[in-house]
């Protein structure tokens, strides 16, 4: 089946798979957003524990998606994996360190014998919620704004400075996307809490937080979008592979590659509609708004990845050696590997199906204070 596809078609297919994983990951960052809200919405017990237990049933899904996103990039576009991870060393280490802290915090937080105390692990969750989301956003933004790498003749990577990725935080466009991801993850978390926790105090605090976070999200997201539409983007010549800059490349991609534009418009509309409904009819719509906002988030992020990967766009530009920039044709695995991996990708719908079944079976009943007192496993 996949053997008959051209190498370019497989590269485009795999870029789409990676984009889907990335988009799903951003939606699932509601776990991180929720962690950052423990002290502003939870504030005291049992609310904090209800929030932790609600998020705790999903944290591994976010974690797994991050790992699979990395693994899929490694397999399909190994030159990106080696360039970004090996070059932007500190940026990725920062992200990874916060995810290590998160992984143990749910399980250890309230256990007897926890030598570091409950608060320590709640702070670990906060750190992951804040630094993890902002840094991931900054890392993705560098795919638009560029990074300081250069390749030698063997395509081995050197970085142009000793900051190894931390310099990306100094770029306001990168930071805007980082903060947009952070506030978006908080919005998604608020809507997720409304959907899964039955507690009046949390619901009322959610309402206030929703408005504040929505405003901040829109501010940073619009700043990012407008900025990347206005800057010179990086394109490449299909025949020679030569890379050059092109004014407003990321804006025109929405028009020249209609799928990107349509996904973007649909995604933004879904997010805005969901936010509008959740704010204007909070009591009746608040619990369901996670669906339109979640779908909208998925579609918008998908459109951003499509913007980067298609229409002869450089998806990881180099700021110091323009021809070192990465395109899906240059960075990809061989035809054979992409073909073999494509068969594996057929498992994705089954994976999604059992995730949905498991999710629904666990979320049938909302979490309340009583549940924390029964004899089930809890965090």
């Amino acid at each position: 089946m996949f053997e008959t596809l051209s190498h370019l078609a497989l590269q485009e297919y795999w870029w789409f798979i990676v984009s889907i994983l990335g988009s799903f990951l951003v939606f699932l960052l509601f776990v991180q957003g929720g962690q950052s809200l423990l002290y502003s919405i939870g504030k005291e017990e049992p609310q904090i524990s209800m929030m932790v237990n609600s998020l705790g049933r999903k944290w591994e899904l976010t974690f797994t998606t991050l790992v699979t996103f990395g693994g899929a990039f490694f397999a399909s576009f190994p030159l990106f994996y080696s360039t970004s991870f090996g070059g932007a060393y500190w940026l990725w280490m920062l992200i990874l360190l916060t995810f290590i802290l998160q992984a143990v915090s749910y399980e250890f937080r309230t256990k007897q014998g926890n030598v570091f105390g409950k608060k320590t692990f709640e702070w670990f969750l906060f750190l992951n919620g804040f630094i993890g989301t902002v840094s991931l956003g900054v890392a993705v933004a560098t795919m638009f704004t560029g990074a300081n790498f250069v390749h030698n003749s063997m395509n081995f990577t050197s970085w142009g400075n000793n900051w190894h990725g931390l310099e990306a935080f100094a770029n306001p466009i990168n930071l805007a996307l980082g903060l947009a991801v952070f506030f978006l993850s908080r919005i998604l978390a608020i809507l997720y809490f409304n959907n899964t926790i039955n507690d009046n105090l949390i619901r009322s605090r959610n309402q206030k937080q929703l408005v504040v976070n929505s405003i901040l999200f829109l501010l940073f997201f619009l700043s990012f979008i407008i900025s990347i539409w206005l800057i010179d983007g990086y394109a490449y010549d299909e025949v020679s592979g030569n890379i050059f800059t092109k004014p407003n490349k990321y804006f025109y991609n929405n028009i020249e590659h209609p799928l990107t534009g349509i996904l973007f418009l649909c995604g933004v509309l879904f997010v805005l509609l969901g936010l509008f409904r959740s704010v204007t009819c909070y009591k009746t719509c608040g619990g369901k708004a996670i669906y339109p906002v979640g779908i909208g988030t998925f579609l918008t992020v998908l459109s951003l990845f499509c913007n980067l990967g298609y229409n002869n766009t450089v998806f990881y530009p180099s700021l110091i050696s323009i021809q070192s920039g990465l395109t899906i044709t240059k960075a990809s695995s061989s035809h054979f590997t992409l073909t073999a991996m494509s068969y594996v990708s057929l498992l994705v719908p089954f994976v999604l199906a059992y995730i949905i079944i498991a999710w629904r079976s666990l979320n049938k009943k909302m979490i309340d204070a009583d549940e924390l007192n029964d004899d089930t496993h809890k965090y």
Binding site: G70, I100, V115, S153, V344, S361
Partner: protein, 522 residues
Amino acid sequence: MDQISVLVEWSRAQFALTAMYHWIFVPLTLGMTYMIAFMETIYVRTGNEEWKRITKFWGKLFGINFAIGVATGIILEFEFGTNWSNYSWFVGDIFGAPLAIEGIMAFFLESTFIAIMFFGWNKVSKKFHLLSTWLVAIGASLSALWILVANAWMQFPTGTVFNPETARNEMIDFWSVLFSPVAVNKFLHTISNGFVVSALFITGVSAWFIIKKREVLFAKRSMLIATTFGLLSSVFLALTGDGSAYHVAQKQPMKLAAMEGLYNGQDGAGLIMIGVINPKKQVGDDRNDYIFKIEIPKMLSLLGYRNANAFVPGIDDLVYGNESKGLISAQEKIERGTVAMETLNQYRLAKQNGDSTTIAKLSVLFDRQTAEGQEFFENYFRYFGYSHLKKPEDIVPNVPLVFYSFHIMVALGFFFIIFFAIMLFFVLKNVVEKRKIWLLLAIWTFPLGFIASQAGWIVAEVGRQPWVIQDLMPVSMAVSQVSASAVQLTFILFAIIFTSLLIAEVSIMNKAIKNGPTEGGK
């Protein structure tokens, strides 16, 4: 040491630190899930609430351990990129695929159904819960399968060709990578090792309860499952260990020589049972290999080559060559590898300059479908990786570390078989409560499982040095171009974090064990 050497050593240290911490937790995860699944199956079939209590108690300990295994696991995957970026590009085509498949096929299965395993007791039916527990066990094993396939490929690269256009290795046969004999054996050996460590854990904890005269019925039932599982697994572990040694002999003779501290090759070589290698011994000198040794005659030849009189090459034979046995020297390999590298450089230069005559002349050398290409590969390109070595002695790993790790692992492996057999006998005869010394031994045997397990990984990974991929790529070529000080700092950070988390885990685990199954079930 030059800058690159310092960077390589710290990068190796960081990866080893992460891997060794990871491997403290993963064996428990691999084995405990199956034993918990067996316990829950008994509960669902019999409806006996005691088995539910047993299942929930071990499930709680499993959960405490699982999280930290996940934490260390994520770092390992990304360290291939952060610390070994050249490697990631050079072989990402082959190595990345198993990692991605691991994510899609195994991690999602584990992470989705573990939520039901922990939180679903009152939310889903008994059968759905049991199914979820089994799926977690299967997911954990599948995860191990794919990462071990990737690791096996590093020991025995197969199903791949070098593409001169991209100057990297590319996969041409997925099934050859998946079902390589090294991969199959490595998976079976490693997973049975996880089963043994888990069985030692459950046996040890159960022994503690029996000594304390608490929850005796619970402890005996747990011990019955664990010792049965442990005995079967440890026998299987020994059999797959034999398979591993056989494959090492065929594919990585230098590793085998280091495992046995064998400097001078022999026909009908003996297997060292106990020995102390001479610390002053250097490659190529005339000092004795051992200060003291007890060996089983001809056994190494028999195990490694299935022939009691077969020649087993020693370290000196592999470094300096042995013409009578058809072994070429490492120096010769370095020279041939250099020819291969220079040919590749000429080809790439010609491509850059559009020199079609040179391209046509050289491209045939990289095509193994042609006679010329096959000859070039056999005589030169197979030694491509050697072109990065400075001197012949660079191909020798740390012999004492590999030798002692190997012998500790083997000795403990045989001890575990005897231990499980005796403990199972006591449990079946219902006299285990009276065997205080054996119960105490059971508690102290648990850490030995970790020692054996870690020793096994030292043999596998240190024994492969200086290669990150056997004969294809040395570690010095694979490392990321970051400063050594950056890696030193992250090493220290990881060491502090992992150690702190280990302390927290041990403390929480101890408390959960002391609370016992009644509280453990709640």
